[in-house]
C-alpha cells in the first residue's frame, strides 16, 4: 500500500494556500486602491449650478414660521430646467472639442491616464444628465423633451453671439472719442502748415502779421467746421 507522506502533502497544500492567499490579498488591495484613486479624481467640470438650482427648487424647504414648503409654479421649474439645459449645451460643446485633443495627447503620452479617466467619467455623467433633463422636460410638459435641447442650443448660440456683438459695439464711444482727438490734432497740424505757409508769404510782404496767424490758430471751433467740409470733398 501507499504510504501517505503527510508532511510533504501539507507542504504542497500550504504552498498553494499561501500563493492563492497572497494573490487574493494583492488583487483586493489593488482594486481598492484604484477605486479610491478614481474617486478622488478631480471632476472635469465645476459644480453644475443650474442643476443645483433646479433640484433645490424641487426640494424647497418651508420658510420660517410656515409649515408647508412653498408651492413652486411649473413655469419657474420650466425656466430653471431650460437654464440647466443651456448649461448642458455649453458642457457638451466643451466635451466635444476636448475629446479629439485629449485622445491625441493620450496617444502621444503627453498626458497621464488620470486625465483620460476624468474625461471619460465626465462624458458618462453628461449622458446621464441629458437623459435626466429630457425626462424632467417630458414630465413638465408633454413632448417638451424632444425640443428642449434644440431651444437650449439656440439660446446658447444666441447668448454667445450677442455677447460678442455687445463687446464690439461697446467700443463705439472710445473709438469716436479717439477719432475726435485724432482729427483735432490732424487739423491743428494742417492749420499750422497753412499758417506757416501764409505766415511765410506774409512775412515776405510785410512784417508783423505773426499775430494774425496766432489768431487763426485760436479760432478752434470755426476751423473745425471748415476742415470737415474739405475732408468731404476729397
Amino acid at each position: 500500500m501507499f504510504e501517505i507522506d503527510w508532511v510533504g502533502l501539507s507542504m504542497a497544500f500550504g504552498y498553494i494556500g499561501v500563493l492563492v492567499g497572497s494573490l487574493i490579498t494583492f488583487s483586493s488591495v489593488y482594486r481598492k486602491r484604484k477605486a479610491a484613486q478614481s474617486a478622488t479624481l478631480a471632476p472635469w467640470f465645476p459644480p453644475h449650478m443650474q442643476r443645483n438650482i433646479y433640484l433645490s427648487l424641487l426640494h424647497l424647504e418651508p420658510a420660517e414660521g410656515q409649515e408647508k414648503a412653498p408651492n413652486v409654479p411649473d413655469s419657474v421649474l420650466r425656466a430653471a430646467l431650460l437654464r440647466r439645459a443651456v448649461e448642458d449645451i455649453h458642457r457638451i460643446i466643451q466635451i466635444r472639442t476636448a475629446k479629439q485633443a485629449c485622445s491625441t495627447l493620450l496617444q502621444r503620452g503627453s498626458v497621464g491616464d488620470a486625465l483620460w479617466q476624468r474625461f471619460l467619467r465626465a462624458e458618462q455623467e453628461m449622458e446621464a444628465e441629458l437623459k435626466d433633463v429630457v425626462m424632467e422636460a417630458n414630465a413638465l410638459t408633454p413632448n417638451w423633451g424632444t425640443t428642449i435641447f434644440q431651444s437650449a442650443n439656440e439660446m446658447a448660440a444666441n447668448t454667445m453671439f450677442r455677447q460678442k456683438l455687445d463687446d464690439i459695439q461697446s467700443q463705439t464711444e472710445a473709438e469716436v472719442e479717439w477719432w475726435k482727438t485724432r482729427r483735432a490734432s490732424i487739423q491743428d497740424e494742417f492749420m499750422k502748415e497753412l499758417d506757416g505757409e501764409s505766415g511765410a508769404a506774409a512775412k515776405a510782404s510785410k512784417p508783423g502779421s505773426d499775430e494774425d496767424a496766432v489768431l487763426v490758430e485760436g479760432g478752434g471751433p470755426a476751423a473745425t467746421g471748415s476742415i470737415r467740409k474739405k475732408k468731404g470733398k476729397k
Partner: protein, 198 residues
C-alpha cells in the same frame, strides 16, 4: 460635476407673490444666475404655450417688421437722409436683437449682418468713420463669409482715419474669407499706395 444621484442644496427662496427666486448667499455668480433665471421666467410667462416652441418655424411677424424697417431705411438713405436712415436701421437692430433667445441664431445673424452693414454705410456717408468702422465690424462678426461689403466698409473707414496698418491687416483677413474679391483687392492697393507715401 458631482455624482448623478446627489446635488447641493442651495440657499434659495421663492417669493410667493412675484414668484421671483432670490438667495441669501452672497455669491456673485449665483445672484447673476438667478437674475437670468428670473428674466427667462418672465419671457416664458409671456408665451402662449407653456414651454418655448421649437426654433423652427419662426413667427413671421417680427421678420416682416424688421425687413420693412430695413427697406424704409434704405429708401431714406437713397434720398440722402442719412441720419433718418440710421434711426430706422437702429430700430431694426433693436428688434432683431430682442428676439427671444430660443429663436434660430442663424436667422438673427443674417438680419443683424445686413442691418449693421447698412448702418455702417449710412455712417460713412456722414463721414462718421469711427461709428462706421464699429458697425462694419459688427456686421462681419455676425456673418463672416459672403459679407464682402462689410469687410470693405470697415477697411475703408480705417483708411479714412489714417490707420493704414490696421486697414491692411483687416483686408488681409477679409481676403482669406472672401477669396479674391475685386473691391477688396482694389482697396488694398489704395492702402498700400497711401502707406508708401506716408
Amino acid at each position: 460635476m458631482d455624482d448623478t444621484e446627489t446635488f447641493d442644496l442651495l440657499p434659495i427662496r421663492l417669493d410667493p407673490q412675484s414668484k421671483a427666486i432670490s438667495t441669501t448667499s452672497s455669491s456673485r455668480i449665483l445672484n447673476q444666475e438667478l437674475k437670468t433665471l428670473n428674466e427667462l421666467h418672465k419671457t416664458l410667462l409671456s408665451l402662449e404655450s407653456p414651454a418655448p416652441p421649437p426654433p423652427i418655424p419662426v413667427n413671421p411677424k417680427r421678420s416682416a417688421q424688421i425687413t420693412k424697417l430695413r427697406e424704409t431705411g434704405n429708401d431714406s438713405f437713397r434720398k440722402g437722409k442719412h441720419a433718418e436712415a440710421i434711426q430706422y436701421y437702429s430700430l431694426g437692430l433693436k428688434m432683431a436683437l430682442s428676439r427671444p433667445l430660443w429663436e434660430p441664431s442663424g436667422l438673427v445673424r443674417d438680419e443683424v449682418a445686413g442691418l449693421y452693414a447698412n448702418r455702417a454705410q449710412a455712417h460713412m456717408a456722414m463721414q462718421s468713420w469711427a461709428e462706421g468702422s464699429v458697425d462694419a465690424e459688427s456686421s462681419v462678426e455676425a456673418k463672416k463669409a459672403g459679407n464682402a461689403k462689410a469687410w470693405w466698409r470697415k477697411a475703408k473707414c480705417l483708411m479714412e482715419m489714417g490707420r493704414l496698418e490696421e486697414a491692411e491687416e483687416w483686408i488681409g483677413r477679409g481676403l482669406e474669407m472672401e477669396g479674391n474679391e475685386s473691391d477688396l483687392v482694389a482697396l488694398l492697393k489704395d492702402v498700400q499706395e497711401k502707406s508708401k507715401k506716408a
